[in-house]
Amino acid sequence: MANIKEYSEIPERLCGGHRLCGGCGASVAVRQVMMGAGKDTEVVAGCATGCLEVSTTALPYSSWNCSFIHNAFENVAATISGVESAVKGLKRAGKLARDKQVKFVAFAGDGGTYDIGFQSLSGALERGHDFVFVCYDNGAYMNTGIQRSGATPHYAWATTSETGKAIPGKLQQRKDLTSIVAAHRIPYAAQASIGDWKDLVSKAEKAFAVEGPAFLNVLAPCPRGWRYDGSQTIAISKLAFQTKFWPLFEIDHGKWSMKEVREAKVQPVEEFLEAQGRYKHLFKPTKRQDLIDQIQQEVDAYYDYIKKMCDTFGE
């Protein structure tokens, strides 16, 4: 891993001037991931329909300083697999130099990854294309206006998991997508966060370096959907880690490892919940300690599960 000065000298592949919201986690995720591709590598980026796509490619302007393709919502994995396959075919035909290095990366939000894009992702992983799939996970369909997805956490508010006298937000837990992806036995899968750039960039470097599919599930908070001030995006990302809500782990060629939260620094998940308006119904008009306790149990259980996987399938 290089130092921060060296990373800062890598030309931006996603340029400023795009139209994402102030404090949006997605653009931070893209820039940190792209640092992992290195300085001189030609990269083709694919993007599913979503905030990132509509905000960076408003015709005739493109914020992408690398080749870029958007096709539709559910198929960025299939689309980039086509690009990657074409480069193989073109090289074999002698239409492209055989030693030409091109890296392929696909970006999608959690809707385009966990839900509508899942089949396309699973197929591309199974086929073994040499690409990095990055989910910028903000836990809801933010582009269409904060609807619940398979990534929306338990009891969070969204516009299709409304809160009211009868129902306290989303009644289901989120999918453990990173583990599901790991079950494809691809060379590299990891969960990361924009709150820990060193961890994320180092994981991105590994993801780009392996031959075959790699997957990064990056926590990328959304001020609009999570209902907090845009200045707090990185702080909330860090809180997600410190409360064990978002464990940072990786499965590198079948070996599990995680970055543990130091016991002295662990904070209750309530700190993470209370910082966001999407959980305000757990605190007002009356505090729902029962639901907060339940979330705490689930967060601890998931963290312990990952830890056990690391103990069992680690070094």
Partner: protein, 397 residues
Amino acid sequence: MAEQKVLAANGNTMVAEAYRQAEPDVVAAYPITPQTAIVEQFDKYVAEGLVHTEFVPVESEHSSMSACIGASTTGARVATATASQGLALMYEELHIAAGMRCPIVMANANRAISAPINIHGDHSDVMGARDAGWIIFFAETAQEAYDNTLVSFRVAEDKDVQLPVMTTMDGFITSHAMERCELMDDATVADFLGTRTAREPMVGGDHPVSQGMFASVGGAYFNLKQGESLAIDSVKPTIQRIGEEWAKICGRPFSLVDAFECEDADYIIVILGSSAGNARAVARELREQGVKAGVLRLKLYRPFPAAEVREGLKNAKAIAIMDRSDSFGAQYAPLGEDVRCALYPMDGHIPTRDYIYGLGGADVTLDLMRQVYSELQELAAGKLDQGKHYLGTNKAQ
């Protein structure tokens, strides 16, 4: 004339052979009856190292067209094949392929659409895709499926076209029935097809390229869609030129419509695909009896060859438009509406009757064709109405 091998083959084999000779850089495909044999056979060519193609065995037709689009934007030559539910599953991607001006060639073995499920031949699948911006050919025979496929690569990749092309043949009847076919030698085909030159390849160019951008502001969408429309509306001369070039090489004639004895015909059947043979057989029989019968078969369906249709039908006394698909709730089935629209600017009115036939592979017998010509004679005499009719069903109409 170049050297051709005579062989017994079905439509699927002939399309697979055309793909082998065209040697796409990428073929991304998914199995579906009655097309599967194309991709099976092609994959065997890949496995044997006979082609340089990267074969992508995707997990659905949605992904096959998605991968084809991704591949096509790099400047690669790209092909796939599908049918029926597979084509329906591709629906949104068909529009995107055309909108992104991806010159993909796709064979479709025309098959019924569920429900109820039925694997046999009709045109319901293609008709659902007719407004997606693809150039669409209908082959009558396995030989023509081969010829159309080769011509399609040249048309799609032509610098003035840059549009996807669907080369269709009737499921089972053409895809699976053995015919006497002629296969051109590989070198001649390679010479005819050349290689694709992309305008702005996404990989290997001297600058980054953004594809599939967001056109929701400033009227860009409307203008680009008009451009797409102009592009497909103006491809007929290019198709004609390339088709004639291939006809000179292979010795088989090429035209956008196949007009059989239409010049002086009183009674004309307008039709697509494999059933044209039965219509011609009965037309010949009637000619021997002194009845002036003709058959107008459209080889090109999109863009619709309206001028050629008008020219072929201008002297008719009565016309039967035969549709192997339905358009529920519409006034007529798709070909019925297209042909009637083409006739509208003509002076005078020709009585026209619409027949929906052969859905789900139902038999289209010589007797049914005799019935159609017989009814056309009654229609010309003012004894029958001009509505929509189902041919060969057992329900009263």
